[in-house]
Amino acid sequence: MLPLFLTSHKAYFGMLAVFLAAVLAMCLWLSKQQATLPLLGDYHIYHCETGGSGQGSFNLLTVSSIFAREIADNLCRAPAMAEQYKTISISWKPRQQLTAEEVLNEDYDLIWNREHSLHGLVPEYSRYYEPLLRYDQYKVFWFSRNGQPQLTREYFRGKKIGLLNDRLSHTFHLLPLASLKQLGVDISRQPLVYFDDANSLYRAFARGDLDLVSGGLFLEQDLDIPLQRILMADNVVAATLFVRKARAAEIDCAIAQAFDDATTDYFSAHRDFPGAAHCRG
């Protein structure tokens, strides 16, 4: 029997509220759901199958995701690759993330990089890797949205210049600073804006937040807005392809062809391929 004080209307409705709260809590407790997220793949690595009789994977490290898939697909279609490898795998992780261990372990069969970077990482890299081909005479320009840029100290005064934080980047860091130095601009008084990635840099430029940026001819195609340019440097080594010394020699021509096919339209640079004489066609 309930104590008398619990029989009042107030106590009754209080008890109803307690029951309701308890049942609601039970409802929520019962209906709580958990998600089981599978281990996700790596989205900076692209794989394709050669469909051939070869074994293992041919691993590439490139600096940019732009041509990556096209290069890999070209390699997968190459018969010489199919004979040697089952899959082609291309990664475009940031070049700063390449470690000495990876170079020493020869984790990658091909590395797109600059000689000074690789040398800085592993001075004796040449025991494991050798250059296969080189893109040089690459042209880098100053781009402006307002009027023709001029290579004079007066022109640059007070102009906001966008650079990349990546100190290894020729196009976006080293060359522009060298150009300013050459013109006698006091870099410490120049308004320089640093960005973490090219994407942000160009977006800021497209918005009008920057007066000048550096870049290759590809920029006109990428941004698709009216730009004025002036040449900053015209014999830049754009990239060098380093390949493992311990490789099947038959694949050299296929690699060169795959990179050529993917980059010709975009990459207005001269190609230096010492081994080209061995290739057919």
Partner: protein, 392 residues
Amino acid sequence: MARCKRWLPLAWCVLTALLSGSAYWYAHASFADDLARQFQQQLPQRLALALQNRLANNGPHSWVIGQLERDLAALPATGRLPLLRHCRARVEQLIGEPGVSPSSGGDQIAVGWHIGDGERQDRTLFSLKCDTNWPVLLASQGVLALLLVGCVWLWPAPLSSARRLQIRTLSGAGIAPQLARRLSARLEQFNPLQRDLFARLRDQLGLSMESLLNWLAKPELATLDPQQILWLDLALHKGIEGPPDLDRALAVALAPAYLQFECEQLQVIAHGIPITLSKTPFFYFLWYARRRLAGDGWYLNPPTSRPDRDGAEPLITLMEELGGHNKSINDLREHGLRAKTLDQNRNKIRDELVSALGEVLVEPYLFESRRDMKSGRYSYRLALSADQIQIH
């Protein structure tokens, strides 16, 4: 209580709907929360690596979206109840700036990430879709609602403050709490008249609560009119010593208006109440009654100067038969019926009836009078009609 029970099925339906709504919302929300947490663990680094270094229109965006959606095409949901199935996420916006795109909420999940140590935040927006396992959801919430309805049904109904006061009063009077609760429940079914009677009678010595309540529960009692209540009260308070005879009191209250003469005991019974009269007033009363039974009953007071000697004869016979006082008999023989004696005896009858029945109830059992226009004297007779009078 019966009224409440009728509402229970409806309450069950409403509760099932309410709980199902909550369960639906929480199943989806908790799944999305948990997924968002795991997204935040796995995705930022992967997205930053994949999308770090190129412009939107040339990057691997569509390929990354395809890969993500392939990986997120089947997201198993687990829980105490299998409420969700076939969960999958789609990419709504691969790179959006925070503030521009909506934050997580509803069926959308936003994952924030940034490249390197940069301050710039990017945000990827996913939409989440899950099929709801309605049979399990509705059945489980229906059972929960049933549980609640069952608890409410079993929980004693609340008592009004009047009832609680009554129970406290009963307990205060030394009645065991459980019995007090039971008595109060019975009282609840009584009308104000019955409750009033209970209040007046419960302190009477020698009455058990149970028998009092059983008596109060009688249907005849519930429908007594005010006049009958007066009779009931009268009958209850007649036997001052000891417990009142409840059934007799009810019989009195329900009795018709009649007057019965018990000649042996020199007693009249008015509406069931026995009244013992003094000898001489009784005989006068009986004499008037007989006249009422014999005809219209009117008897004109004789003139002061000429008493009614003939009229005295039946009264004398009556007194002799029933052992009247000699003095009264002789007085009648000597002087006949006199207006003064008649008036005196009617007054005595009146006094004795009033003292037994009270001023209010006594009225129909007394005399009515009318004035004779010629002589200026009064006639008297019993106010009751002949069929309401019995002589034994």
